[in-house]
């Protein structure tokens, strides 16, 4: 059984069908990329999987259990966490506070116990702090713990977003354009981070425009065009696929000098 299965999912906004009868599955331990031109429905698909939108038709299953219709926090509790395309963090908190808050699902004490700051609460907070520092080190953010998040540059913000998602200890992580707006050196590091996440036993689904990175990193690729799935397969097969080339990748002989 696949870890994540998207079965005949559609999403309509009024007369527009943003995602049209899309089906694919993700196996545990895989890195799967969703690619396609702008407006192909990639972001809508992500929102559907993470529970920010409800499908107009079809089912989404995690571990064989339906998650479509659940709210985002409930889906996170089942082990699927998304990051955001924009560099979304809690801007008025420090870097460390951001990651500590992301440990929310692992809080075991009542609000009352937290008010009284019982020894158990204290121990738990120490545990979250230590874990947060480890995650920040893993994403090369050590030394920035006490910086307010809004002061971080773009690349660091994205890394922080990933650290926060990892703090939830998900089984599946959805990365929305993790390489966009990065130079080649930053992309290289981000690719390493994604590989490191998978090495930690987490299944990765990502939406991305940077073809070079996608081709190198993905086990399989799913291609969307106008909301419809037009191809899926290993990177080498996608690169050779006629439909994909026509819709998206383009041909060398078609490139027009600007």
């Amino acid at each position: 059984m696949s870890l994540l299965a998207v079965e005949g999912v559609s999403r309509r906004f009024g007369g527009l069908t943003a995602v049209n009868n899309v089906s694919f599955s993700v196996e545990a331990g895989e890195i799967l990329s969703v690619i396609g031109p702008n407006g192909a429905g990639k972001s809508t698909l992500f929102k559907l999987i993470a529970g920010f939108l409800k499908p107009s038709a079809g089912h989404i299953l995690l571990d064989g259990r339906r998650i479509d219709g659940l709210r985002p926090h409930a889906i996170a509790a089942r082990g699927l966490v998304r990051t955001f395309q924009e560099t979304t963090v809690f801007r008025e908190m420090t870097v460390l506070e951001n990651v500590v808050v992301a440990h929310h699902l692992r809080r075991r004490h009542s609000v009352l116990a937290e008010l009284l700051a019982t020894p158990g609460v204290h121990a738990e907070q120490q545990e979250f702090l230590a874990d947060s520092r480890k995650l920040l080190a893993r994403l090369s953010l050590s030394g920035l713990e006490d910086e307010e998040a809004r002061n971080l540059p773009h690349g660091h913000l994205r890394a922080l977003g990933i650290a926060m998602a990892l703090a939830v200890r998900p089984r599946v992580i959805l990365l929305d354009e993790p390489f966009t707006g990065m130079n080649s050196e930053e992309t290289e590091r981000a690719v390493e981070i994604v590989r490191d996440i998978r090495a930690g036993g987490i299944t990765v689904v990502l939406v991305e425009h940077d073809m070079g990175a996608v081709m190198r990193i993905s086990d399989r690729i799913v291609v969307l065009n106008f909301g419809t799935l037009i191809a899926s397969g290993v990177p080498s097969a996608i690169q050779q696929d006629e439909t994909v080339i026509d819709a998206y990748l383009g041909r060398a002989d078609e490139i027009v000098a600007l």
């Binding site: 926090h73 966490v81 808050v101 008010l115 700051a117 926060m164 998602a165 939830v168």
Partner: protein
């Protein structure tokens, strides 16, 4: 650490003034005790509003919950001869119950939409009590509410209000630094992100609103007992707006904000009453000036002054 120590010292000083200095100095001054009781109770209600600010909601409904708290106490104590000390927790529960029912649907709204609907809630509560027939006594309100046992003098009521406020400050302060407080702040800065991290945003929003409204109910209940009457017009939209203004004026950064704001505005308003005709005008100018020059509230004043001193020190050229 640097910041926490003055906060604690400030709180101890405030508690000492409230519980020792004022009772000693003003024991015979009924007028000023009344003013300070009012300030303490309004400050307590504002702490509730401050909690809803923490989740990023502008709450202009506190007057409605003060009315509910006041009417519960009034009806229970006059008609059923319930002890105030039983009616007080019941009034808090009633306010929290209404907050649960109303809060669930309206907390989906954000920004000005939430502010407007809470504002109209105050109006709705006032109209409901006005049209409550013999149950709420309509426009004539409920008068001759008996004084609570143990609280027969102005001084006793003042001390009870001061204690209530001090407890409110401590609880809100502990809450703000607790993990749940961090979750509240995260909601203000990004509800979608919080949800994606597994935070049940609807539940936390409701928790904030219920806590806030419970505090409004308690403040209203204390007021009803202390003024011995309640009318549908005891709290109007104006009062709800004031609860919010106390927070703005004092600053939203810490729980000291609403307390400082409430005390300053209540006392300033009394001092300005000597020049009746210009009271509202000066009050308005004062508010505008505070918002222009201290956008983060009065509590940010020390920081601003320190920053200015540092800049001056930096400006001295090295030799």
């Amino acid at each position: 650490m640097m910041q926490r120590f003055p906060a604690l010292a400030g709180f101890i000083l405030f508690a000492a003034v409230m519980l020792i200095a004022i009772p000693l100095l003003l024991a015979g001054q009924g007028y000023w005790l009344t003013v300070l009781t009012t300030a303490a109770l309004l400050a307590f209600g504002s702490i509730g509003v401050w909690l809803t600010f923490a989740i990023g909601r502008i709450n202009i409904a506190q007057g409605a919950f003060a009315l509910i708290g006041g009417y519960v106490v009034a009806i229970l104590c006059t008609r059923y001869h319930t002890s105030f000390w039983i009616a007080l927790p019941l009034s808090v529960l009633a306010a929290m119950l209404v907050a649960t029912l109303v809060g669930w649907p309206i907390l989906r709204l954000r920004g000005v939409y939430f502010a407007m609907i809470t504002l109209s809630l105050t109006e709705v509560a006032s109209l409901a009590f006005l049209n409550g027939g013999s149950f709420t006594e309509g426009a004539s309100g409920i008068t001759s509410i008996p004084r609570p046992a143990l609280l027969s003098s102005s001084l006793a009521i003042y001390i009870a209000s001061a204690l209530l406020l001090l407890i409110g400050i401590v609880v809100a302060w502990r809450f703000a630094v607790s993990p749940a407080g961090a979750v509240f702040r995260s909601l203000r800065q990004g509800e979608e992100l919080a949800a994606s991290l597994g935070i049940n945003i609807a539940r936390y929003r409701l928790l904030a609103f219920i806590a806030s409204s419970g505090m409004g109910g308690a403040a209203g209940a204390m007021f009803a007992a202390f003024q011995q009457n309640i009318f549908p017009t005891s709290y109007t939209v104006n009062d709800s707006v004031n609860f919010m203004l106390y927070c703005f004026l004092g600053g939203l950064q810490s729980v000291a904000g609403p307390v400082v704001g409430a005390f300053l505005l209540v006392i300033a308003f009394q001092l300005l009453s000597a020049i009746q005709r210009f009271q509202a005008l000066l009050y308005g100018i004062f508010m505008i000036a505070a918002m222009l020059f201290l956008p983060n509230g009065l509590m940010s004043l020390p920081q601003l002054l320190l920053a200015r001193r540092d800049r001056r020190a930096d400006a001295v050229p090295p030799r």
